[in-house]
Symmetry: C2
Subunit: 217 residues, 2 copies
Amino acid sequence: MHQVMIDTDILEANEQMADHNRGHFKEHGVYVVNLMSAPGAGKTSVLEQTINRIKDDYRLGVIEGDLMTTIDADRISALGVPSYQITTGTVCHLDAKMVHSALYSFKIDDLDLLFIENVGNLVCPAEFYLGEDLRVMVYSTVEGADKPKKYPMMFHESKAVLLNKIDLLPYSGVSLDELRRKVLEVSPETIIFPVSCRTGEGIDEWIAWLEWRIASA
Amino acid sequence: MHQVMIDTDILEANEQMADHNRGHFKEHGVYVVNLMSAPGAGKTSVLEQTINRIKDDYRLGVIEGDLMTTIDADRISALGVPSYQITTGTVCHLDAKMVHSALYSFKIDDLDLLFIENVGNLVCPAEFYLGEDLRVMVYSTVEGADKPKKYPMMFHESKAVLLNKIDLLPYSGVSLDELRRKVLEVSPETIIFPVSCRTGEGIDEWIAWLEWRIASA
C-alpha cells in the first residue's frame, strides 16, 4: 500500500534524527523520558506530581507536545521548571525533528532530566522515537480494560505503565487486578504503578523506580 | 514540510474515495454516522445503548475500526446486528478506502442506518472523511476540560458531542457547565448531549435528535 511505504520512509528518517538527538543527550548527560498516553489520561498531572517531589534533586526541563495551545507548558512553568511547547498543528505525534528544534530553547548543559510529554494518542507516538532513554505510558483506569489488546505497540514500547486515576476504580467497572492482567498479557515485562494524581497514592513508588533507572543509566 | 505535502496528497485521494462512498450510500438509501472519540471514551457503549433502543425501527449495520482485535465487532454482533471489523494494523484512523472495502461484507440494500466506529484518536479521524452523513463525537467527562482547545478540529467537525460518563462528574474535578462551555467556545454550533451509558441517562434525547437528522436527510 502506497501510504504504508511513505510511512516507512518517514520512520527511517525519524530514527536517524532520534539517534542524533540521543547522541546529543548522552554527550551532555541528560536523561530523557518520553511520556505517552491517550488524551486526558493524566500525563501533565503525573508530571506535576513528579516535579513537585524531585525538583530539588535534579535540574529539570519539560517539552510539551500538543496540536494547539500552551496550556500544558503553562502548567509546568507555574512550577518553576523551564518548559517549551511544541505545537504540531495537525500532526498526531511528536517526532525527533520537532524535539531537535525544541532543544535550542534550553541550555542543555543546565539539565539533568528532560521530560517530553507527547501528544495524547495511543498509536503514532509509539512509532516515533525521539532519542529518549525511557518510554513511560499513562493509562487511566476509566479507559476500559481492552486498551492493551487494542493498542499493543504502545504497551510493548513502554517500560512502565502508570495506571492513573485509581481513585476512580470503584466507578470504573473494572478491578485493578483485571487491568494489571490485561497489561501483562500483552506486555509481560512492563512495570505497573497504580497511582492517583489526585490523592498522590503510588507516586512515591514510581519516583523511586524512576530514580533507580536514572542512576543505572 | 515534506511530511505535510504527503499528507495533502493522501487527504485529496481520500476525499475522492469518500465522495465515491457517499454516492454509493445515497443510491442505496443508507444513512451513515461516523462515531469518533479518544480511546476509552465509550463509543462502543454508546452504540450498544443506541442499538438496543432502535434496532426494531431501522435495519442496522456497524463497521468497527481498531488497530487490532475484533472485541468491538463481537460486542455488536452479540446484539444481533451485522458488524464488520476493520483492523488497521498501525494506522491511527479509518480512511474511505478501508470503508469501501468493508462495504462488500454487507448487503447494502438491507441497511437503513450504518454506524462506523472510528479508531480511538482525537486527531487524524477528523481529517479523513469516509462518505458519512453525520460525524458525532464522544467526549468523556473524565478526560479533562482542556480537550476542545487542544483538539479543535475534532470538535468543529462533530455536529454532536455526546458528553459521556456523566455519572462520573462528581469525581471528574469539572462541572457539566464548564465542559459545555469549553466545547461551545471552540465549536459554538455543536449540539451537546450529556449521557451516561451506565445509567442510560440522556440516551433518549440523543436518539430523538439522531432520528430527526435521519428523517431530515
